[in-house]
């Protein structure tokens, strides 16, 4: 008898852990994904994101924790309650794993015939899915004859043709060049939007995560450090790791003196300390959140300048700290400038 829940997330993971050879890779992570949502699991390599995905797929057995798919429990601890092949999951692998001895049509057909779908229905579904990914004319080709981008689309078609409850994607864009990456990313977004398949997308690329996902979970060393919309993650990181991992950032050691009062290299400042008690902390702001202006509060010297297309990025030495600023105007190196912050956050030390 399968255990079911009244409150149904499309996917719910509770306190999942997994160790390999005595080393804990996933350390009790929890997350939820709603129906039709695309969640990006973002983190550096080795942080446990692929292991988490493989546990959801049933390819790895967790040590502890629970996985609920569509309100039904799939495993409790290391006890498998729904075997992998009954989880109705589609998966796109990092190396795509297209079967080289089967034509595109046969690659897509495999899952349907394994599930005993009648031939006529199979044909219809395959045509539909090939239309969806705009690959109709390649159905009789072997995957080895297709370009990298076309192979990506076939891998996606194969994963969604069985109309899975959950689509899992394991860094599918990691091996293709930047230009093609952008195109395929748009295609993934379109296909996911049209099919409304609940998707978990594993990536170490912030751009992939932010452009595709409505919700991002950032993983580090086996735990999820923050979950939120891309804007929340970017603008209000809650840990130095996230601040550093996502985009360019300035992080300066400071001391919290009391409520909304901090000691910085530029002297004492008023700043929202978010209830933090007195002690060491980090002042965080993005390069674009400070600007150079004549009447600015703080002074520094430009050490170097990079042109990054559209704007200049300046390395500024100020009160013994090196900070990064972005500005549209051109300033010479060793030029003295004044600047102010638009926004700043206090992070734990």
């Amino acid at each position: 008898m399968q255990e079911k829940k009244a409150t149904m997330h499309a996917l719910e993971v509770k306190q999942l852990t997994k160790s390999f050879q005595g080393k804990e890779i996933v350390k009790g992570i929890s997350l939820t994904v709603e129906r039709g949502q695309l969640l990006a699991l973002l983190g550096p390599s080795g942080c446990g994101k692929t292991t988490t995905l493989r546990m959801i797929a049933g390819l790895e057995i967790p040590d502890n924790g629970e996985i609920w798919i569509d309100g039904t429990i799939a495993n409790r601890g290391n006890k498998i309650l729904i075997p992998q092949k009954q989880r109705h999951i589609g998966m796109v692998f990092q190396d795509l794993a297209l079967w080289p001895h089967m034509k595109v049509y046969e690659n897509i057909e495999f899952g349907l015939s394994a599930n005993k779908i009648p031939r006529a229905e199979r044909k219809k579904k395959i045509e539909e899915v090939l239309n969806k990914v705009n690959m109709q004319k390649y159905s009789r080709e072997y995957p080895g004859r297709l370009s990298g981008g076309q192979q990506q689309l076939i891998a996606i078609a194969r994963a969604i043709v069985t109309e899975p409850k959950l689509l899992l994607m394991d860094e599918p864009l990691s091996n293709i060049d930047i230009r093609l990456r952008e195109e395929i990313r748009q295609e993934i977004r379109r296909i996911q939007h049209e099919t409304q398949i609940t998707t978990v997308y594993v990536t170490q690329d912030q751009e992939d995560a932010f452009l595709l996902a409505s919700k991002v979970a950032v993983m580090n060393k086996g735990i999820i450090e923050q979950t939120g919309t891309p804007e929340e993650i970017y603008n209000s990181p809650i840990s130095p790791f996230i601040a550093h991992f996502i985009g360019e950032s300035n992080m300066i050691n400071i001391k919290v003196l009391g409520k909304d009062r901090v000691l910085t290299p530029w002297g004492e400042l008023d700043c929202n300390t978010k209830g933090r008690s007195a002690g060491n902390a980090i002042l965080f702001f993005r390069p674009h959140q400070a600007k150079i202006e004549k009447g600015g509060q703080y002074e520094g010297v430009i050490i170097s300048r990079d042109f990054i297309g559209g704007v200049y990025r300046y390395h500024i030495l100020t009160s013994g700290e090196n900070i990064l600023l972005e500005d549209n105007n051109f300033y010479e190196s060793e030029h003295k400038v004044r600047f102010t912050f638009d926004k700043k956050e206090i992070l734990p030390f």
Binding site: A57, L59, K85, D95, L96, A97, F110, G144, Q151
Partner: protein
């Protein structure tokens, strides 16, 4: 569940087939008249005569290994690192001594260097040696080592060539920036491939230690021939088992040493074939030296022995007589080897899958454990099978008195080999290809049938042919277990060798050579037409 059951069954099958007879045999040798006794072992380990036999075995294996390493490493280097003319032709020819049974080369060289042999008379004349001195050489441990190294050097040649060809060129190129090519060869290339060469050397040592055919032909007193004598001549199977004991111990020590030595050695350099070729040596003198060396090896190892056998036959009547004499043996050999190869391929596939594709705690130990059994001497397996199957009871008697005991013998001897070949082919199929199948809801059998089998097709064909070739030439186990009326071709040859004319013996040897080379020829011709499926999964 399908997967667990099938694989557990295949491993249990392996244990029953290969492990059980040997354990049974050793168990029996220490249990006599209702109590445990180590008398036979005491006799073996503490008497001068047996110490000498053990030393003889070790000397034979050591000299064979040294000669094979010398020839194999050089040949492998020339194949991988130079563009010698007719390289592919030489390579195919050098395969021949490995594939044909060692005793056929032995028979040829005995014919040449024996007392009235052609080469014996010529050497005696030109080198002013006595005919006995030369024939004493071929009937000595050194002569046996010479013939065995002809048979086994291709193992080291292949390992060397493979590792040199698969060595990433970046290691050598980064050395070439600062040093000469020979400096790079000495300081970078050779040290990088040493673990692979050591592994090849160990295999050759173990195989020459457990060789029965050549020592038996040349009447060299080593452990394997002693086991056979004790069993067949004196019917003393307990003494035979006790003699097998040091052989097994030495083999296990060597394999453990190899395992420890190679453990953690960086084999990632030998991954997939790199996109670019490794650096080549174009030195003129090296090419001249290589060509002379290749020609010399070709003559010693292939042309001279095969030509001797062919010239010995003289008339077609000898062939006719040989055919009549060995007709039953030929039919039996083809029949038994085909059945044996089919079972070996099937069981080897499952065991290869178990040791390569299934994650479990003792995964690495399992593949080493299976491989250890390839080193068990054929005669030991033979005695083990007799001990286990020669007993009252309908099942045992039905097996023992039929062709199935020979098939079981083939399986016990070559299952580790077929497992190893299949494992190497299975390594090339990424895990994700199977996982992609199972996430679609397919059962393990569906994944196996539609994904793994088709991708493994070349490996399955290769395994079948290699097993067929090895079964055709098998002597050490079959000679002990074959029931009356079930003699194979090698047994016919061994039986008639002592009292038949040279031309018949040579004709039979040529028939065995033909029967082993024919499948290889077929494989080489059709392999071009088998679609080579390149696993072009983006990685």
């Amino acid at each position: 569940m399908q997967k667990q059951l099938t694989l557990s069954f295949s491993f249990t099958f392996f244990l029953c087939l290969t492990c059980l007879p040997i354990v049974w045999m050793f168990g029996n040798s220490i249990y006599e008249d209702g109590s445990f006794s180590f008398d036979y072992y005491r006799d073996i380990l503490f008497t001068g005569r047996y110490v000498k036999i053990i030393a003889n075995s070790l000397i034979l294996a050591s000299i064979t290994t040294m000669l094979s390493a010398l020839m194999g490493v050089s040949a492998g280097f020339f194949l991988a690192k130079t563009n010698l003319p007719l390289k592919s032709f030489f390579k195919i020819c050098f395969f021949i001594p490995l594939i044909i049974p060692s005793y056929t080369i032995g028979i040829a060289w005995v014919n040449l260097l024996g007392k009235s042999g052609f080469l014996n008379t010529q050497l005696a004349h030109y080198l002013h040696l006595s005919s006995e001195t030369i024939s004493d050489f071929i009937y000595s441990t050194y002569g046996a080592a010479f013939i065995l190294s002809i048979n086994l050097f291709p193992v080291i040649m292949l390992v060397t060539e493979y590792s040199l060809k698969n060595l990433s060129p970046r290691f050598e190129e980064s050395g070439l920036v600062t040093g000469s090519s020979f400096h790079v060869l000495r300081r970078i290339t050779l040290p990088l491939i040493t673990p692979a060469i050591i592994s090849g050397i160990m295999i050759v040592f173990v195989l020459s230690l457990s060789e029965f055919g050549i020592p038996s032909l040349l009447q060299i007193n080593v452990l394997t021939t002693q086991i056979f004598t004790q069993f067949s001549a004196f019917y003393n199977e307990k003494a035979a088992t006790a003699i097998a004991f040091p052989l097994i111990v030495i083999t296990i020590i060597i394999i453990i040493f190899e395992y420890i030595y190679l453990h953690g050695k960086s084999f990632e350099i030998l991954g997939r074939k790199p996109a670019r070729n490794s650096i080549q040596y174009h030195n003129k003198w090296l090419l001249v030296g290589g060509t002379i060396f290749f020609t010399f090896v070709l003559f010693i190892c292939v042309f001279i022995p095969l030509l001797t056998l062919i010239l010995n036959i003289r008339t077609l009547t000898s062939f006719h007589d040989a055919f009549l004499l060995a007709k039953k043996g030929i039919i039996n050999s083809i029949q038994f080897s085909s059945i044996g190869a089919t079972f070996l391929t099937f069981a080897g596939f499952l065991l290869g899958y178990l040791s390569e594709k299934v994650q479990f705690k003792l995964k690495n130990s399992t593949s080493t454990f299976i491989w250890i059994f390839f080193a068990v001497p054929a005669t030991v397996i033979g005695i083990g099978l007799i001990k286990l199957y020669n007993r009252p009871g309908m099942f045992f008697q039905n097996v023992y008195g039929s062709l199935w005991i020979i098939i079981i013998g083939y399986m016990a001897r070559f299952l580790p080999l077929s497992t190893r070949i299949q494992t190497n082919y299975l390594k090339q199929i990424p895990y994700s290809l199977e996982e992609a199948g199972s996430t679609t809801g397919a059962t393990w059998f569906q994944v196996l049938g539609k994904i793994v089998f088709p991708l493994q097709f070349n490996g399955i064909i290769a395994t079948w042919l290699i097993c067929f070739i090895f079964c055709i030439g098998e002597l050490g186990t079959t000679i002990l277990v074959y029931p009356p009326g079930h003699e194979t071709l090698p047994i016919t040859l061994f039986t008639i060798m002592a009292n038949s004319p040279d031309d018949i013996v040579s004709a039979l040897s040529i028939i065995i050579v033909f029967m082993t080379l024919l499948p290889l020829g077929i494989f080489l011709s059709i392999s071009r037409y088998i679609t080579r499926i390149t696993i072009s999964v983006t990685s």
